[in-house]
Each structure stands twice: as structure tokens, then as C-alpha cells.
């Protein structure tokens, strides 16, 4: 096995061992060791909750994130291109940006009640701002020479958007999409703790409330971490596309 795989694996094994040793030396603690947590994950799988909760969380993230994406990209492009629009809208964006999406939970529940829509709304908000701002900034960063060349060749507006504007911002946009998806995944867990009764966030709260099942609490945490990594790896794959690699510093 190559060193690039061996070292991370060693790191994980050492961490798991340290965890087990710490738990074994404090038998009174409620925190379970890795084997108990693994059994917890097995139990969730056997009860059919594993797939159900993972799907529920991914379902909310998908809808919230995609809705945000569909609105943020055209909005960001328009704001990036139209200086006056940016001057009008940017202060609002900047004001909303430092507000944690979680601060919207009471309003989400007020508007949409307890249920999927509230959770999706929170994920939507969490993804919308970073995607919009990143798109806008990416448009500002386009090399003016490329825009001038596109104008010179007199290509129609639609082609100018699809063949110049979008590919020019794509490298930066993919990075923003990755970050936004990470935030969306953070937010779904929090939203599920409050607004719904399924999903990995709900699992964590429910396991604690229903009899201090800390093995399931940590099982939920581990699952959240693993799925987060998988989502990030999927987004990273896009950075390797031939048509965007120019936008990243040479390796």
C-alpha cells in the first residue's frame, strides 16, 4: 500500500484506539467506545432507520441546495454584470451574510410550520448567499480581455453567456458550490433537530431524549461526517474537469 494511503489509515486507527482506551479507563462514562458505536450503526441499519434517515437528510439538502443554486447563479451573474444592481443589492447581501441560517429557525417555523419545508428553507438560505456573492465576485474577476474578445467576434448574447461568462467563472463557482454544500450539510443537521422528526439530526436528538442512547448519538455523528466527506469528494471531482483546471494554481 502506498504511503499516501497508509498514513491516513494509521491516523484513523490511532484515533480509534485512543478513543477505546479513554472509554475503557472511565467505565462510568456514558460515552460509548468505537465498537459499541459500530454496533449502533448496525442496529440502525437493521431497523431500516439508517437508509431512511440518510435519505431524508439528503432529500432536504438536495432541494434546498438546488433551489438556491437555480436562483443564485442568474442573480449573481446579473449583479456581476450590472453595476447599479450590485450597488443596490450588495449591502443587503452583506447584511444578511453574517446572520447564521439557524437564526432563521423561528421564522421558518412561523412561515412553514414544523416539517420538511422549514428545513429545506433553511438550507436554501444557507446556500443562497454564498453562491450569489461568489458568482457576483467571479464575474468581477473575469479578465476584461476575454469579454472584449467575445464582443469583438460579435457572438449573440446567449452564446456570450454560455460560452464566455459561465466558463470564465466556473473554476471559482465550483469552489463556492463546494463550500455552500458543506454549509448546507451543517445546517440540515441543526434544522432536523428542531423542525422535523426524521433525518440524521433528528436521530441525534431523539436518541438522547429516548433513553440516553449515546451509542446512537455518536453513530449519527459518524454518519454525518462520512456523508459530508463523500459530498465534498464528489464536488472536488468537478475541479478536475479539463475546461476548469486553468482556474486553479498549477499543482
Amino acid at each position: 500500500m502506498s504511503r499516501s494511503r497508509l498514513l491516513p489509515l494509521t491516523g484513523i486507527l490511532v484515533a480509534l484506539a485512543a478513543w477505546q482506551i479513554a472509554v475503557s479507563s472511565h467505565p462510568a462514562s456514558l460515552i460509548p467506545g468505537p465498537f459499541v458505536v459500530a454496533r449502533g450503526i448496525g442496529e440502525l441499519a437493521a431497523r431500516g432507520l439508517l437508509v431512511k434517515y440518510v435519505v431524508a437528510s439528503l432529500f432536504r439538502v438536495t432541494w434546498g441546495y438546488l433551489t438556491a443554486f437555480v436562483i443564485a447563479i442568474p442573480l449573481g451573474l446579473a449583479l456581476g454584470l450590472i453595476r447599479r444592481g450590485e450597488m443596490a443589492v450588495n449591502p443587503i447581501l452583506q447584511l444578511l451574510r453574517p446572520i447564521s441560517p439557524l437564526a432563521w429557525i423561528p421564522i421558518a417555523i412561523l412561515w412553514f410550520g414544523v416539517g420538511d419545508i422549514s428545513a429545506i428553507f433553511l438550507i436554501f438560505l444557507a446556500s443562497l448567499l454564498p453562491l450569489t456573492v461568489a458568482t457576483m465576485n467571479a464575474v468581477h474577476n473575469i479578465d476584461p480581455v476575454h469579454l472584449a474578445a467575445a464582443r469583438n467576434f460579435g457572438i449573440p448574447l446567449r452564446a456570450r453567456i454560455t460560452r464566455v461568462l459561465v466558463p470564465a467563472i466556473l473554476p471559482q463557482l465550483i469552489v463556492a458550490m463546494r463550500i455552500a454544500l458543506g454549509v448546507a450539510w451543517l445546517v440540515v443537521v441543526a434544522a432536523e433537530m428542531i423542525a422535523v422528526n426524521s433525518g440524521l439530526g433528528f436521530l441525534i436528538v431523539d436518541a438522547r431524549n429516548a433513553g440516553n442512547r449515546y451509542d446512537l448519538v455518536i453513530a449519527g455523528m459518524v454518519l454525518i461526517g462520512l456523508i459530508g466527506i463523500i459530498l465534498d469528494l464528489m464536488m472536488r471531482r468537478m475541479e478536475r474537469l479539463d475546461s476548469v483546471r486553468w482556474g486553479y494554481a498549477a499543482q
Binding site: 480581455v145 474578445a149 464582443r151 457572438i155 464566455v164 470564465a168 475546461s243 482556474g247 498549477a250
Partner: protein, 244 residues
């Protein structure tokens, strides 16, 4: 006259970038605009390209006043003008959006061949050298069959050997394609090697000091008496003693 500059003046704030520039360019002529940095030569080219509007005066091409960029006259920037997200093929075919696919393919192949980039059709600009990128940009410009080419210090970022090769390449293409070329440079040798006429400009405000006819047939012998005479004439005109 193919291109006519009439009474062009350009102010940027309090700075006079150009003052009363008048010059005509003949069809098929290779005109070099030469001057020190900040003499407004690039501004002048951008005005002709339709990217800037002069404060006074106008440019006409075929008797038509220039009001904006036009695909009949293509501007070639330094090599960074190529689109990094498109392959060599994609770049060269960029302006050919209104051609049927078969004709587009054929035209791309023709210009890939003209600039000698066979085998690199599917390469991305990041995989090419500076000189190759510059070839891609020239091919992209020529592929739409413009009648005027504007080149703004196109070889400025290349090493001196590649620059020499690119010059003879450009001359070969110019003779094959018979375009009117306006070429901006701050390199005296370059202007004498390439141009039919050299417009020597002075700085702040930018205006024409002198127009020098380069009456040497191509290919030019860079050690001929006439070449050295003309080169020294321009050196003198710019106020440089020809000594290092």
C-alpha cells in the same frame, strides 16, 4: 483609404493621451505604430477597434465611422486573449458560430494548418507555450476572415527567439491572407522588420512625430545598409543615441 484616422484626440481626466492624430492606412498595408510607453499608441488602436470612443475626431473604415467592435476587424491581444477553457480547436472556431458544422470543421482545420498547430487541436492553452498561444489567437482572428487585424504588442510577452520566429510567421500569413494590419509596438527593430510604414509617436500628449516609409522588399536583410539606415533614422527620431 481603408482606415482613416481624422483629428483623433483623447483625454483621460486631465491627461491628453492623444492629440490630433491624422493618418490613413491603405488596403492591404502593414502599418506599425511605434512609440514609448504611455504615448497613447494602444489607445489609438483601441479607438480603431471600437473599444474606446475618442474625445474628438473619428475613425472611418471603408468610409464607415467606427462606433463599436465589429467582427470584420479583429483585435489580437497578447497571448492572454485566448480562452483558457477552450481547446485550440474551440478557440479557433470561437467566432465561427454561424457556420454549418462541416464548414466550421473545415475552416478550423485550415487555420490550424496555417499557424502550424497540427496535433494540438485538442490541447488546452495551459498545455501550450507562449508562442503557441499567440498562434492560436492569430488563427482565431483570421478564421472569421476579417479585413483588418489590430495587433497590440502581440509578441511583447514572448522570449526574443520566439518573437523573431513569430514575426516571420506573421509576415508569411499577412502575405497569404492579404489583410490590412495595424500593429502597435515599442520595439524599433520589430517595426522596421515588419512594416510598410512606421508611424513614430511622441508621448504626452501622444501625437505623430513622423511617418517613415520602409522601402525594403521582403524578406528583409537585417544587415543591409538600407535597413540599418532606416532603423537609425527612427532611433534618432525617438531621441535615442544608438549606443548601449
Amino acid at each position: 483609404m481603408k482606415v482613416q484616422f481624422s483629428g483623433i484626440s483623447m483625454r483621460f481626466g486631465a491627461m491628453d493621451a492623444l492629440q490630433d492624430v491624422n493618418i490613413g492606412v491603405e488596403e492591404g498595408e502593414f502599418l506599425c505604430i511605434l512609440g514609448p510607453s504611455g504615448c497613447g499608441k494602444s489607445t489609438l488602436l483601441n479607438i480603431a477597434g471600437g473599444f474606446l470612443t475618442p474625445s474628438k475626431g473619428s475613425v472611418t473604415i471603408d468610409g464607415e465611422t467606427v462606433t463599436g467592435p465589429d467582427r470584420r476587424r479583429i483585435f489580437v491581444f497578447q497571448e492572454r486573449g485566448v480562452f483558457p477553457w477552450l481547446t485550440v480547436e474551440g478557440n479557433i472556431g470561437f467566432g465561427l458560430f454561424d457556420l454549418p458544422e462541416a464548414e466550421r470543421r473545415q475552416r478550423i482545420a485550415q487555420y490550424v494548418h496555417l499557424v502550424g498547430l497540427e496535433g494540438f487541436e485538442k490541447s488546452y492553452p495551459r498545455e501550450l507555450s507562449g508562442g503557441m498561444k499567440q498562434r492560436v489567437e492569430v488563427a482565431r482572428a483570421l478564421a472569421v476572415n476579417p479585413d483588418v487585424l489590430f495587433l497590440d504588442e502581440p509578441f511583447g510577452a514572448l522570449d526574443s527567439i520566439t518573437r523573431l520566429q513569430m514575426r516571420s510567421e506573421l509576415l508569411r500569413i499577412w502575405r497569404a491572407e492579404k489583410k490590412t494590419v495595424l500593429f502597435v509596438t515599442h520595439d524599433i527593430e520589430e517595426s522596421v522588420q515588419l512594416a510598410d510604414r512606421v508611424v513614430v509617436m511622441s508621448a504626452r500628449p501622444g501625437r505623430i512625430r513622423r511617418v517613415v516609409d520602409i522601402d525594403i522588399a521582403h524578406p528583409r536583410d537585417l544587415s543591409s545598409r538600407r535597413y540599418i539606415e532606416l532603423r537609425d533614422l527612427i532611433f534618432g527620431e525617438i531621441g535615442l543615441a544608438h549606443q548601449v
